[in-house]
Every structure is written in structure tokens, then in C-alpha cells.
């Protein structure tokens, strides 16, 4: 079940050339690109781990792709995404965030129901991968 978080997640996985074009677009706009990874795909997990530091002073996509290659080598079975941060006054937020790496098998989510007082049901999603401890999920 392909994780559909972030931009371009409904399209087929981007190849390196497409990723490079997107990174060039971000750099042309002066956004700082950073790489994050995680093995907990829950949609409410907004705190992925950052790989290295946000790359504020990179001029060319080649530098960022080198970093991405290193991240893929270190974490071949984690979700990896690229973020582009726009620091202009009044915005100071992410402009683009898309997944660039996925584990080979994505087991997906199940719906959990919690019955409360008066049979009121509360729903959450639960990721099958988090049944296993960190490091053994994928």
C-alpha cells in the first residue's frame, strides 16, 4: 500500500532526473533543502529525523543529490523525503515536501476503533510496520 504523504505521492516514484529538476527549482527560488527519514509512516508523525543539516548554502542540485545518495545508502529501507523551506518574511514555512525513497514492502494501515461512553467510537489509524520495534520494521 503506497504511502500517499506529501507532494507527488500519487504519481509513480520520481527517478533521479526528476528529483534533480525539482531540487533545481527549489534552489532557483532560494529555498533551503533538507532531507528527512523515518520508519514510522503514521500520517500524524510530523517529526521525521533529519539527515545532516538543512542545506542553506548549496548552489547546485548535485550537492543535494550526493547527500540523498548517502542517505539512501545509510537507510535503504526507510522512508526518505526532501523538504524545501522558504524563509521569506511572512512565509517561513515549507514550500515543497515530497517522498523520494520508500521501503520495498509497505504493509499499510489498519483502522482502530475505540468505543467510549455511550458507544461513541473514536477512530485512529495504526501502521502495521510499527508492530515491530524500531530498526526491524522494514
Amino acid at each position: 500500500m503506497k504511502l500517499t504523504q506529501g507532494t507527488f505521492s500519487f504519481l509513480p516514484d520520481l527517478d533521479d532526473q526528476q528529483i534533480r529538476s525539482q531540487v533545481e527549482y527549489c534552489l532557483q527560488n532560494g529555498w533551503a533543502v533538507s532531507i528527512e527519514y523515518t520508519d514510522d509512516p503514521h500520517p500524524r508523525n510530523s517529526y521525521w529525523e533529519m539527515f545532516g543539516t538543512p542545506m542553506f548554502d548549496i548552489r547546485d542540485a548535485a550537492g543535494i543529490l550526493t547527500e540523498l545518495r548517502a542517505c539512501r545508502q545509510t537507510f535503504p529501507e526507510h522512508y526518505i523525503k526532501l523538504n524545501a523551506f522558504d524563509s521569506t518574511h511572512g512565509r517561513e514555512s515549507l514550500r515543497l515536501s515530497f517522498i523520494v525513497g520508500r521501503p520495498a514492502r509497505e504493509p499499510g494501515f489498519r483502522l482502530e476503533r475505540q468505543e467510549g461512553a455511550g458507544r461513541a467510537v473514536r477512530y485512529t489509524t495504526h501502521s502495521y510496520s510499527t508492530d515491530r520495534p524500531e530498526g526491524e520494521r522494514y
Binding site: T7, L11, P12, Q18, S21, Q22, Y25
Partner: protein
């Protein structure tokens, strides 16, 4: 923030992105619910169309002119989008304004 709503559909995504940019609320009502494959398929079609268009725009392509090609190419990987383009692809907003008079003045007793 601009909001677009009212008869917009996935086949116009290049025009919507061109005119309104990316800081916009796009409300596809009929364009989602009226999808032949169901509402979920309608949502997926709209999302795929939007993502494909943003991808192309970021790469520097001319989405105004190449928009229809981009959509057709994206539809190859997405059956809902293909269906949406088949059903609504021909619909544009080029029609006579509703303000145009739809009668011919005829002579009356008063004139």
C-alpha cells in the same frame, strides 16, 4: 487566498494552475462526485492531475501549451484520470456570457 469552484474539472488543471498559481483553494464539487468511477476515483483523478501539472511546471515546462499532453501522459498511469478526461475533457469555459440577451426585440403596441 483565491478560491476556484463551480464546474472546474481535472482536464482544466493547466489553466487553473496558470491563472491562479499554487496558493489557491480548488474546489472540485461535480468534478469529484460526478466521476464515473465513483467519488474516491474522482478525488484521485484530481490529485494526480494537479501533481502532474505542478511537477511539469517546476521542471520549467510550458504548462499553458503542453497542459493537455501532460494530462494525457499522466492518465496513462491513472485510470480515474483517464476516465475524467474522457468524460469532461472537452468542456471549457468558452461560452456566451449569460448576460447576453437571448431574445430579439419585436415590435409592441407601445413602441
Amino acid at each position: 487566498m483565491p478560491v476556484a469552484s463551480g464546474g472546474i474539472h481535472a482536464g482544466q488543471m493547466h489553466q487553473l494552475l496558470h491563472y491562479l498559481g499554487e496558493d489557491v483553494v480548488l474546489q472540485f464539487g461535480g468534478g469529484t462526485i460526478g466521476h464515473p468511477m465513483g467519488i474516491a476515483a474522482g478525488a484521485a483523478a484530481n490529485r494526480v492531475a494537479l501533481e502532474a501539472m505542478v511537477l511539469a511546471r517546476n521542471e520549467g515546462r510550458d504548462i499553458w501549451n503542453e497542459g493537455p499532453d501532460i494530462l494525457v501522459k499522466a492518465a496513462r498511469h491513472c485510470a480515474p484520470l483517464r476516465a475524467a478526461l474522457d468524460v469532461w475533457g472537452e468542456i471549457t469555459f468558452n461560452y456566451e456570457s449569460t448576460d447576453t440577451p437571448d431574445f430579439v426585440p419585436t415590435a409592441t403596441a407601445a413602441a
